[in-house]
């Protein structure tokens, strides 16, 4: 089973924690909001992804089944 990272742009307020925890798949745009690579996340990166999701202070980041 593989997963995909999603950000809810309404909930997100651009703290940028996700990009710090998971730079492999999350970068920040020029205004500090996350640009999420939504290609499926394999088992090698899953733990990083989970950590980023858990670290989001406003719960804007989600892991969905791909």
């Amino acid at each position: 089973m593989s997963f995909r990272l999603r950000v809810d742009p309404i909930v997100c307020d651009g703290r940028g924690v996700c990009a710090e925890f998971f730079p492999e798949r999350v970068s920040l745009d020029d205004w500090g909001y996350p640009v999420v690579d939504d290609t499926p996340i394999g088992p090698d990166l899953l733990q990083h992804a989970r950590r980023a999701v858990a670290a989001c202070p406003v719960l804007a980041l989600k892991l969905e089944e791909a």
């Binding site: 809810d8 742009p9 309404i10 997100c12 307020d13 651009g14 745009d29 020029d30 205004w31 500090g32 909001y33 640009v35």
Partner: protein, 433 residues
């Protein structure tokens, strides 16, 4: 099985265009007159009417609000959901250069109501909610008058409710309508989509006013009749709103696949005066005069230029206007139209507007165009709705189409005497509820 079968009278199907605008004139068309010409509509039942959905699929009708999504597929999805659905008539028409929905709402309200009731019959709907911009008095009044006529002489089988929705550009987005109808702000939301969970958590069919008007005629005259104009992949007629450098701006009904040149000529564009043509509104794309001369009014054909028909807006830019100034004006207006929910939209569009404005005034650094393209690339798919995507698309198209003018502005030109062409309503003072 044919849905056109149960029609009682023998009136011949209209052979020529206009179809939707056949009865549109100065005089009010009463319900009796409308019924004589348009024929009866099928009654609403508890369950979905597969025969109607099938006829819509065979007609090949696609949504006319801008998305061009196959209407039958949306109906199927709504009909398959749990509980009796709601039908929402989307008459918000926030696109400043578009007037087709307002025209139908004011001059052919009974056709629109017929279409909504047919849609409700198709999905087994329990209620129709007609949404009209609450600052467009003419549309509200005519719809109210039409509904009063129905109440008096032809009570509808399910309730039809008219509501005036907040007057904001993004409030016509279907999730914004649903959120507002559920008591919230008229601002777009993230999924679930209305077809899954909409008004009162019920599956909700949100269809554009023009889409529903076509639907009424498809059920009346049949899919084969509908397909007798237009192209094989895009059948039927479509409404376009033409403005700018034309002698006779207005709403026209043309076959899909019509020649853009012919549209411009028919609406009185002066030979040599049109330097570019905007298609699809402010989420749309510019065609150069040469491209426009070869293009057709069709999504398939316009895709060759990276363009689409959108909601049918066509604006001809005259020689004495400046594409760079127009781009800056529109992007600034779009930035002011944000619902203010998504960070990239709020800040990104503000950055785009500032930089585009500086370019237009001849005050931008030489690398400003590259910066704008980079920002536009960062904005795609970044909002709950398509406002950031639309603004980015429009700006990129402007930079590409008017690249010579952009260079001139980057060297300090500021076009003080340009003519302003693209219509921009004053910033709306309206609440979100």
């Amino acid at each position: 099985m044919s849905v056109a079968a149960p029609i009682v009278d023998k009136a011949p199907a209209p052979e020529r265009l206009p179809r939707l605008l056949a009865d549109v004139g100065a005089a009010w068309v009463t319900l009796d007159e409308h019924r004589r010409r348009a024929g009866p509509i099928p009654p609403t039942t508890r369950g979905p009417r597969v025969d109607i959905i099938d006829a819509v699929a065979r007609a090949g009708l696609r949504g006319k609000g801008g998305g061009a999504f196959p209407t039958a597929r949306k109906m199927e999805a709504v009909a398959a959901g749990p509980g009796r659905p709601i039908v929402v008539v989307n008459g918000a028409e926030g696109e400043p250069a578009s007037g087709k929905d307002k025209l139908l709402l004011t001059r052919a309200p009974h056709l629109v109501i017929d279409g909504a009731l047919v849609a409700a019959a198709a999905v087994g709907g329990r209620e129709v909610i007609v949404c009209v911009d609450r600052q467009t008095d003419s549309a509200l009044e005519s719809m109210q008058r039409a509904l009063s006529e129905r109440a008096a002489s032809e009570p509808t089988s399910i309730p039809v409710r008219l509501v005036g929705v907040p007057s904001h550009y993004v409030s016509g987005e279907e999730t914004a309508l649903v959120r507002w109808l559920n008591g919230g702000d008229a601002k777009p939301t993230t999924p679930p989509r209305p077809f899954e969970r909409g008004v009162g958590r019920r599956p909700t069919l949100v269809d554009n006013v023009e889409t529903l008007a076509h639907l009424a005629q498809i059920v009346r005259w049949g899919p084969a009749w509908f397909r007798s104009t237009g192209t094989r992949s895009e059948p039927g007629s479509t409404l376009i709103t033409v403005s700018g450098a034309v002698a006779r701006p207005g709403v026209y009904e043309v076959p899909l696949g019509a020649s853009m040149q012919r549209v411009l000529t028919r609406t009185g564009a002066l030979e040599g005066d049109v330097v570019a043509v905007l298609v699809g509104g402010y989420f749309g794309t510019w065609l150069t005069a040469e491209q426009a001369a070869a293009a057709r009014v069709s999504c398939d054909d316009l895709a060759r230029y990276g363009a689409g028909l959108g909601c049918g807006v066509i604006v001809a830019l005259p020689r004495d206007a400046c594409g760079v100034v127009e781009a800056a004006r529109v992007v600034s207006w779009l930035a002011a139209s944000t619902a203010g929910q998504c960070g990239s939209c709020v800040h990104g569009l503000a950055s785009l507007a500032d930089a585009a404005g500086a370019v237009a005034r001849g005050r931008a650094p030489r690398d400003a165009a590259m910066q704008l393209v980079r920002w536009a690339g960062q904005l795609e798919g970044r909002g709950a709705c398509r406002l950031p995507d639309g603004a980015a698309r429009f700006l990129r198209s402007s930079l590409a189409t008017f690249h010579r003018e952009v260079d001139r502005h980057l060297r300090g030109a500021d076009c003080p005497d340009h003519r302003k062409v693209l219509p921009l309503p004053n910033p709306v003072r309206d609440a979100w509820r």
